[in-house]
């Protein structure tokens, strides 16, 4: 399963199919990060099967709806608690991201886990995502942006010039004062 593009957050509600009309069956709700609703449903069954005695064949999904960010233009610090399988064992991790949306932060998390730990998407379980107040942030790469008068230059700018020649006698211009 490929977690391509930007992930979205879904709320999936499902239950075991009741044997008859009188049987009361509990509903299970999960928040899933997936590229689309089809993968969301698939992951729902994957997790529910591990936790409860219900499978796709004897269950039904009541509702799938996409959860949208309440304030998509507010910069937030997200704490992501995850569990992943490395080559030698399974570990828990806590990572922090600065982003506008929860799904943006989780997308960054998957990309970072792939880059830093070679963890594939199917090996990663997002346990919890929560907005963290600036005072409670722990990671230095997030703490450094906790500054209302932030100010920095852009040194050594590598500008993407798609028309640059393959061979040239001129060094590229990287200083934009």
């Amino acid at each position: 399963m490929k977690f391509r593009g930007n992930l979205r957050q879904y709320e999936v509600i499902g239950r075991k199919v009741p044997k008859d009309k009188s049987e009361v069956v509990p509903l299970y709700k999960m928040k899933i990060f997936a590229p689309d609703d089809i993968v969301a449903k698939s992951r729902f069954w994957y997790f529910i099967k591990k936790m409860k005695k219900v499978k796709r064949s004897n269950g039904e999904i009541i509702n799938v709806r996409e959860l949208y960010e309440k304030r998509p233009l507010k910069i937030k610090n997200f704490g992501v608690w995850l569990r992943y399988d490395s080559r030698s064992g399974t570990h828990n991790m806590y990572k922090e991201y600065r982003d506008l949306t929860t799904s943006g932060a989780v997308t960054s998390c998957y990309r970072e886990m792939g880059a830093r730990h070679r963890a594939r998407a199917h090996n990663i379980t997002i346990l919890r995502v929560a907005e963290v107040k600036p005072a409670d942030c722990r990671r230095p790469h997030v703490l450094q942006f906790r500054d209302s008068h932030i100010r920095f230059p852009l040194p050594h700018r590598v500008v993407g010039n798609w028309n640059r020649p393959r061979f040239t006698t001129k060094r590229p211009r990287t200083l934009y004062k």
Binding site: I75, L100, H141, F145, I150, R151, F152, P153
Partner: protein, 138 residues
Amino acid sequence: MVFELYVEIGRVALIKCGPNKGKICAIIDVIDQNRALVEGPSIKDGVIGVPRQSMRFKHLQLLPYTIKICHTTRTKKLTAAWEKSEISKKWMESAISKKLIASERRKGLNDFDRFKLMKAKQKRQRMIRMCMGPMPKK
């Protein structure tokens, strides 16, 4: 080497990529090392401004103008500060803006326009050479 153009709250930048290419905006806040939250009011009538969004620094060219705003200011206050500093006017009068307009014009020329341009250039060069001709060579 001292830098003059800093990424800071209120820095005005030109957008180089994407659907808002060619428009200018102000940096309202910094998301992380690669991205800023930007917004730009409309400069010309009929041209929509830049709606509040995240933008990569790689897609921005910092300009030598700043406005005085607090981080994550509301649109109204941003527009007021923008107008107070007369950024639109300064930008329209700047050399970069004029060059951009000229290059846009040049891209939009049709074959006849290019022919006319060639003839105009030839005429101009001839006039210059006529003046240079009788000048004594050093």
